[in-house]
């Protein structure tokens, strides 16, 4: 969140609530971030963190019964009010802001030729003729690295492999030269060797076109070394936002720290004991008043339970929603106190070394 020039995309205190048979589901409960032109940002979170709902809000893809609060500003324009005026803004989503979804098999129409699916966007949004659109579709297929693009134009999705299909989806998303590309778990359903190529492709395309990109994923490894910034989400809220480097080298939020610790590392020897995160995410129908991570965090104090921590700066471009960010003297003190006492303010047992102890016996809806 630098102040050099107005960011291209600015989200402030976004909240999305869904009325459901079991109550009001607070899918997104206070998310704020900025995206500059040409910048790439990773949104990282587990299932239920609200990352996909956030992405869909930006793309105006929420169901009509969703209740949205907060502000989303794109290039000075208020996206939320534009979303309400469907008729006048036909050429914003899909043109200036575009999206790539997780499963190419379901995001492509199985009974339409691949070239047609790209060309129709060009004809509808940019008013191109059939011939011009087809030619450009072929160009796009080439740009995304599909061999023999001319032939592929007339193929159907099932005739292509998963990796090629995803490239087609990317080509379709880029057809109208968007300024922001949102990729929601674009490689999760693909093999790892293909995954790398697709992510590299997205990087190359972004650099070539000066496009901004939001990469939504549950896999921290996917953003490492790729995005400029990372925002970590948990229970519908922003927990931390920082340059990618710092997320890995100097985490500010205990959740980020725990997340990085818990992942098995490819370079660690076999049988290295893993560090789990005790407990499970809070119930989305009754979000806690305090910090949502409090009952799983080793640094929890009474303040954490009482008051949800606001997003506060921790350094250059680094914001954390925590009363005692990791590494600060306050955090050290609190951890030592919790370890000495044997438990945190929420009753989470802490070992003397500072590592949380998970309870053993549990029933439904309790520990994971």
């Amino acid at each position: 969140m630098t102040g050099r020039q107005a960011p291209l995309l600015s989200v402030r205190d976004l909240k999305v609530v869904f009325p459901t048979p079991i109550g009001m589901v607070h899918a997104v409960d206070g998310v704020s971030f900025d995206l500059e032109a040409g910048q790439s940002m990773g949104i990282v979170g587990e299932s239920g963190s609200g990352k996909t709902v956030t992405a869909k809000t930006l793309m105006n893809l929420l169901p009509s019964y969703a209740l949205v609060d907060g502000s989303v500003t794109f290039d000075g324009r208020d996206l939320r009010s534009l979303a309400a005026q469907r008729k006048t803004e036909k050429h914003l989503w899909g043109v200036e802001i575009s999206m790539v979804f997780q499963d190419p098999m379901t995001s492509l129409n199985p009974v339409k030729k691949v070239g047609e699916q790209i060309a129709e966007s060009l004809r509808y949004h940019l008013g191109q003729t059939r011939t011009a659109a087809r030619r450009q579709a072929g160009d796009l297929l080439e740009q995304v690295g599909i061999p023999e693009p001319g032939r592929r134009l007339d193929e159907y999705p099932h005739q292509l492999s998963g990796g090629l299909r995803q490239r087609v989806v990317i080509a379709a998303a880029l057809a109208c030269e968007p300024r922001v590309l949102i990729a929601d778990e674009p490689t999760t359903s693909l093999d790892v060797t293909v995954q790398k190529h697709i992510l590299d492709l997205l990087d190359d395309l972004r650099a070539e076109r000066g496009m901004s990109m939001i990469l939504v994923t549950h896999d921290l490894g996917v953003v490492k070394g790729r995005t400029d910034e990372v925002m970590v989400m948990y229970a519908g809220r922003t927990m931390e936002e920082a340059p990618t480097e710092e997320i890995f080298s100097q985490q500010g939020h205990p959740y980020t720290e725990a997340l990085i610790e818990t992942i098995p590392k490819i370079n660690s020897a076999s049988h290295t004991r893993l560090v789990p995160i005790p407990g499970q995410p809070p119930v989305t129908t009754s979000p806690p008043t305090g910090c949502p991570f409090a009952d799983r965090c080793r640094y929890t104090t009474d303040l954490c339970v009482a008051q949800g921590p606001p997003l506060t700066p921790l350094g250059d471009d680094h914001h954390v929603a925590c009363h005692t960010p990791v590494g600060t003297p306050a955090a050290e003190t609190v951890l030592a106190a919790n370890a000495a006492r044997g438990h945190t303010a929420t009753g989470l047992e802490i070992h003397q070394s500072g590592v949380p102890v998970g309870a053993v016996v549990d029933g439904p809806g309790e520990q994971t």
């Binding site: 790892v192 896999d219 994971t368």
Partner: protein, 335 residues
Amino acid sequence: MAGRGTVQLRGGKDVILRVENLVQEFPVGRNRVVHAVSDVSFDLRKGETLGIVGESGCGKSTTARALVQLPPPTSGRVVLDPDSENEVDLTRLSGNDLRNVRPRLQMIFQDPISSLNPRRRVMDIVSEGLEIWSDGDIGTEGRERVEEVLHAVGIDPAAAASHRPHQFSGGQCQRISIARALTMNPEILICDEPVSALDVSVQAKILNLLEDMKARYDLSLVFISHDLSVVRNVSDRVVVMYLGKLCEVGDADRLYEAPAHPYTRALLASAPEPARSVGVADAVLGDDLPSPTDPPSGCRFRTRCPLAIDRCAAEEPLMKKIDEDHFVACHLPFT
């Protein structure tokens, strides 16, 4: 790659499972056949965790199912207690003979929810195995065993008695599956992508649990996954598969620190956090994906391999030893 051969098989008294020349083919359409697994051989020692890693279509899950004969393989042998007087080849058994051996090999699956019957209570699901073998009444001993196992995996037996699977989380369902398998007192636990469908923060708990259960119940594990970091973490020995064939077999740490097969190297280099033993250049692979109904001649990996030579098309590479407990099927391995 994609080679065959049996030099990687070890002998000795502590080998409890040996798979020899396993072939699994499925007819599809009129005259075509999917060569899902083509001549794969490996073994498992007591107390060992064997990791099988590969991408989609490599045949790792098919191999797992073939071990438990569901469905039985097209050809090959799956031998328990090989070279001993109790040796038994599962592929030669059928009907009741096969059923009687089943408790020795249990399995847990990828999707925690669909691994459990949604209509039954968890306690009944976990007791199922004992019920089958005791003709209905498992007795006090049986009930105690079920409770003990539920405690061991971290599920409250009282909750299990009154709730159904959909009332538990994914991680808890996976624990329940593990408990169900453990009641049979198996020798071998086959884990088919057990953590792939779980959140990252839950994976660690389940992996730790498997380690603990392995120690407590004296198990040997066959662990299948596409996630390279997870496989290294749990395995003693690793097998890399591609399009139904074995590429490389060896001690886990050794294989990850000194990968010899170009495909192994590509996998390790493509991981979001690449292994330090390989470089960016190793990740370069051709896009020409072969078809499992008409696999390439010779080495099946040659159509994507940056190092392929004529010999690779003409001659299928055999497994050969390149180091202590390190075998590779390639004409030009890295050494």
